[in-house]
Symmetry: C2
Subunit: 627 residues, 2 copies
């Protein structure tokens, strides 16, 4: 496995109609808002107290810990997003504030390297004793990720040294001193792999692997912990251990189970380790889990997590549209997992899913204004029910402003600002183009610069302009939905079919200044049918164009529950509307509207009349009135 | 209002293919099983401890109270069911055991009349202090109901005197001494009305009316209680007070809200009081609530309660089929309410609903074996999801054996054994036939005996045989679904249209020995469509024949989610099958089966093939394998 691996390419500048706007929102709106929340400067927002917790832990202020046990991670996630944003948009004032925050973290760090404000302030609780609930290793993971990102963005080692000291302490305790246990919420495993990529120190990779290997062993660590502990945060465990994927050793797990975010974070780490060690058994487990998710447990939008209860996977083909959880963070985690699988083996099936989640269940998590956020991304929402009655409470019909448990907005901020890392990858022979977002990449190794110009996914044309001089394979993904395409190298048509391998089109040549590769995908508005095993979608049709899932809103169509798409319906691609939802290509589709006679129950079939349903990209829903 | 009222006729013997069997199950299986549970004699069943609680309260045993705070009511409900059963089937041994249980209750009763084992045993808790949670008045209500039933069945006053003493104490405290408050769970109001009907003592009616009048007044009693109490059973109230219908004075309530069982018990009492006092404002509130339920908040089966959260009503037209609560007890309560409305005004709309719930959401609550029970009556159930995943946990796909919170099985037992009371009613001029269940009724006032012979609802023929000699209106209901019918008096055809009034067909004559009235309803298998306002049923068709809602099971049809009833489909009435589900008339309907290509998502529309869907009456579902 190891040998085929490519590394995702990290110095990409995005210059794209859609995503430059999202990055601007993240940098200009989300990150500053997040900082103000963390500093308790937003009137009306739930108190964060994160900076205050660190000051108390550093002995520079009096007071008690406030917030969730994982409150520290909010600061780390912010620092991570800040790092990426500084790469896109250097901002000395922001950089200075980040350095001050890092300095505060450093002052709160204990001499042995320990840092977690909940446990430093609440001295009565033993460190690393309540691994199932206390999120200590989770917070450490987010610190390590932030440290890696800050180092990569700025070259500064300030946070990296703090993080290494903490990672070293964890290594000392869990590996050297052999303390049993592993995190209740996975995160540190993938973070340690990042630390390993940067530092090349094997101990960090070994620590990640140690946690992965220990997980799910019998006798079960959490059962022991549960029996031993006399204090709890949320309560004794009454789960089976599927919730945090410790029900089986990870290599024996065949089905995606439990809390979806924990699951995909863990799979990401597993794939990262397998890619480094080349271990087949671990890789096979990743592939089995990948196939289980993408063939049986994933919504059309790429969303995962069918139930709000434990925010979890349920069973194969159980994909309710209205009681769905479909957390934005889980979609982001699925993109992490896809990226790692792609680094091991360049197969378009991974990047196709990465694209699916990006366009349909990640950016759907944020309003076009950048101020409102979905945790859950429902595929059916009914005014007066969704977000209101019990089974539908989590599945809001409008994006709320911010949540007390602030995971998704910061996760979106760090994902959008680091989106450049997902576009290209390279290995010795090849440069891969995974996602079609307007951008410039420069490979020093191959002495080449590639500019991708495109209005994808509004249009299907990709123009790659090369400068430099270097021989290599250029491989761009051909999405699984492409039926027709054309390919031009400079002025010559190329037969693309002979270049196809695992969903990528490989073109080998000595690339030089002025080379232009033009790809034209037929985006093909099309109807999609779910498997007959998916009860929730029986008899239903979805509509996609290119990578975009489309949806209908009442703002365009009136009461939706009375509109049906007949099987014979044709889809029409409407003109690009720059004023609609920041610019979208709407579709229209023939429909039937039913009108009943006004009785609750009647023998008179509802009357049918012809109608036209206007569709918009799903990611842009709920930016107008509810409905 | 008062002047038109009829009284339901209480000396009816049922002799019916379907309901004699249900009564036998109730008498021979449910009541004995229930008694064994109450006596803690069923191995494997959840401990009841009811008899033990009473013995401890009587000072005849040592120990602690065990069970729910409303555990006493289990014994009262059993005694009530026993009373009805003794009327149907005298059983001296059972009668003796009932008398012994009553004697035990009497010995546990305090000198002032107070009786509630939870409060007698747990002396630390103040009586009538936690009205919102503690179910004291609810238990008292069930005792009063049992007492009324036992007196009517046996003529014995033993339980009646205990109940009166308790009712007198409650009157003393809440009316004479003016203690503020009213029950958290309504029940005593309708029970006091029963006590009033029997004793003709106005104080009981006044007490019922007092509780009804106090409810929902400002300053709000439960808010005060909540603020004052330093002990709670389940927790401080964080509801708005809709949960127990105290959000508004009852006369101002326009929408059925909150916990559905509490709601319909209260509406029953309101209708009972309005029928007695003739108060128009109260009657209008009942009628408004009735219309809101039956025109906007009721399932096709008559089930009510759209959400498991608080087991409650939600909003108009919100009727999900899979996350439905639809508790059997709520359906029984809706029948109570219908009966009271019918006593005020003989309009078939009430009896039509009574019939709808009886055939489709009450008897569906019990297995054909009488040993398994549904609390919730879902209209869609999916193996592996229903009863398993969170939002669907309550909506079991198979009837479980018995529940710790044993409300529905005893409620079914008392309803089925008292079913005779729902069939006929009379006032000075008229005898009404509301439900078409084979039976014999004798009116002493009118010196007439009427025998109804029928195989309804398998067939639509009703044969009424008269003996005696008396002039009166005989009025039988013409169900709202009847399009064609014929009517014969002795050997002459009668034009029934001229006899129709408010859904009843009135025939005036001097009825005499040998008169035979034969009604033949065309049961007409028919497709039913829900209002286009009901999102859950958009594009769907239901099938009914006569009063029966039909359903499809996988036992007959294979995977149901892949079968569709096209609009043009014809329904065929199959032959009566005596071996199928204790004897049913199945239907078959043309259908389309879809088969997809095996991918989770595909552009290939699922293939369609012709199929036939076999349908059975909904009440008989889940008596074979799951599916």
């Amino acid at each position: 496995m190891k040998n085929n691996s490519s590394t995702s390419y990290q110095n990409v500048k995005i210059n794209d109609r859609l995503f430059t706007a999202y990055q601007k929102l993240a940098i200009g709106t989300v990150i500053p808002y997040q900082e103000a929340v963390l500093r308790d400067e937003v009137a009306g927002a739930e108190k964060s107290h994160v900076f205050a917790n660190f000051r108390i832990a550093a002995g520079e202020a009096e007071g008690e810990f406030y917030g969730f046990v994982f409150q520290d991670s909010d600061l780390y996630k912010w620092l991570e997003a800040v790092s990426y944003s500084l790469k896109i948009n250097p901002d000395p004032a922001l950089s200075k504030r980040a350095d001050e925050a890092i300095s505060l973290i450093g002052r709160a760090q204990q001499p042995d390297g320990y840092i977690n404000t909940y446990f430093i302030i609440n001295k009565q609780y033993e460190r690393f004793a309540n691994l199932r609930e206390a999120h200590e290793l989770y917070c450490a993971g987010h610190m390590i990720e932030a440290a890696a990102a800050y180092f990569e963005a700025t070259g500064k080692r300030n946070l990296l040294e703090i993080a290494r000291k903490k990672a070293d302490l964890i290594y000392e305790i869990f590996v050297k001193q052999n303390k049993p246990g592993y995190p209740g919420h996975q995160e540190i495993e993938l973070a340690l792999m990042r630390l390993y990529y940067i530092t090349k120190e094997a101990k960090y990779r070994n620590l990640a692997e140690h946690f992965i290997n220990e997980r799910g062993k019998q006798p079960h660590y959490f059962d022991d912990e549960n029996a031993r502990l006399d204090w709890v945060i949320w309560g004794k465990s009454n789960d089976d251990n599927r919730y945090n994927q410790s029900h089986l050793p990870v290599r024996e797990q065949k089905e995606a189970a439990g809390h979806a975010v924990r699951a995909v974070y863990m799979y990401t780490a597993m794939a990262g380790i397998a890619g480094e060690t080349g271990e087949k058994e671990l890789y096979d487990a990743c592939e089995t889990l990948w196939m289980n998710i993408t063939e049986k447990r994933m919504y059309l939008t790429g969303a995962i997590g069918s139930t709000a209860f434990s925010e979890a996977f349920t069973g194969d083909y159980d994909l309710p549209n209205d009681t769905i959880y479909g957390e934005t963070c889980a979609s982001i985690g699925l993109a992490f997992f896809a990226k790692k699988m792609l680094e091991i083996k360049p197969d378009s099936k991974y990047a196709d899913v990465m694209e699916r989640v990006l366009y349909n269940s990640i950016i759907s998590g944020m309003s076009l204004s950048g101020t409102n956020f979905f945790y859950c991304n429902p595929l059916e929402a009914e005014p007066g029910v969704s977000g209101v009655t019990h089974s539908y409470f989590h599945a809001k019909p409008q994006r709320p402003e911010w949540y007390a448990c602030a995971c998704c907005p910061p996760n979106l901020a760090r994902f959008l600002t680091s989106l450049g890392d997902y576009l290209f990858a390279e290995n010795e022979k090849t440069i891969f183009s995974h996602l079609f977002i307007g951008s410039i990449m420069e490979s020093r190794a191959k002495n080449i610069k590639i500019t991708l110009e495109t209005d994808y996914p509004n249009q299907g044309i990709l123009t790659y302009r090369f400068s430099g001089n270097s021989e290599f394979d250029f491989a761009f993904r051909v999405p699984d939905w492409v039926k027709n395409m054309s390919l031009m190298l400079n002025r010559s048509q190329i037969d693309y079919e002979s270049c196809l391998k695992n969903g990528y089109c490989y073109i080998n040549k000595r690339w030089a200044d002025g080379d232009i590769l033009t790809v034209n995908f037929d985006l093909q508005a099309r109807k999609i049918y779910a498997s007959d095993k998916v009860r929730a979608n029986s008899g239903k049709t979805a509509v996609m164009r290119g990578p975009l899932v489309y949806c209908a809103e009442e703002a365009d169509n009136g009461k939706l529950q009375n509109l049906f798409i007949p099987r014979y319906a044709k889809i029409k691609v409407l003109d690009y509307d720059k004023d609609l939802l920041n610019g979208v290509v709407p579709l229209s589709v023939e429909a039937i509207r039913i009108t009943s006679d006004g009785n609750l129950y009647s023998e008179t079939p509802p009357a049918e009349s012809g109608a036209t349903l206007k569709l918009i990209p799903y990611y842009a829903w709920a930016n107008r009135e509810e409905g």
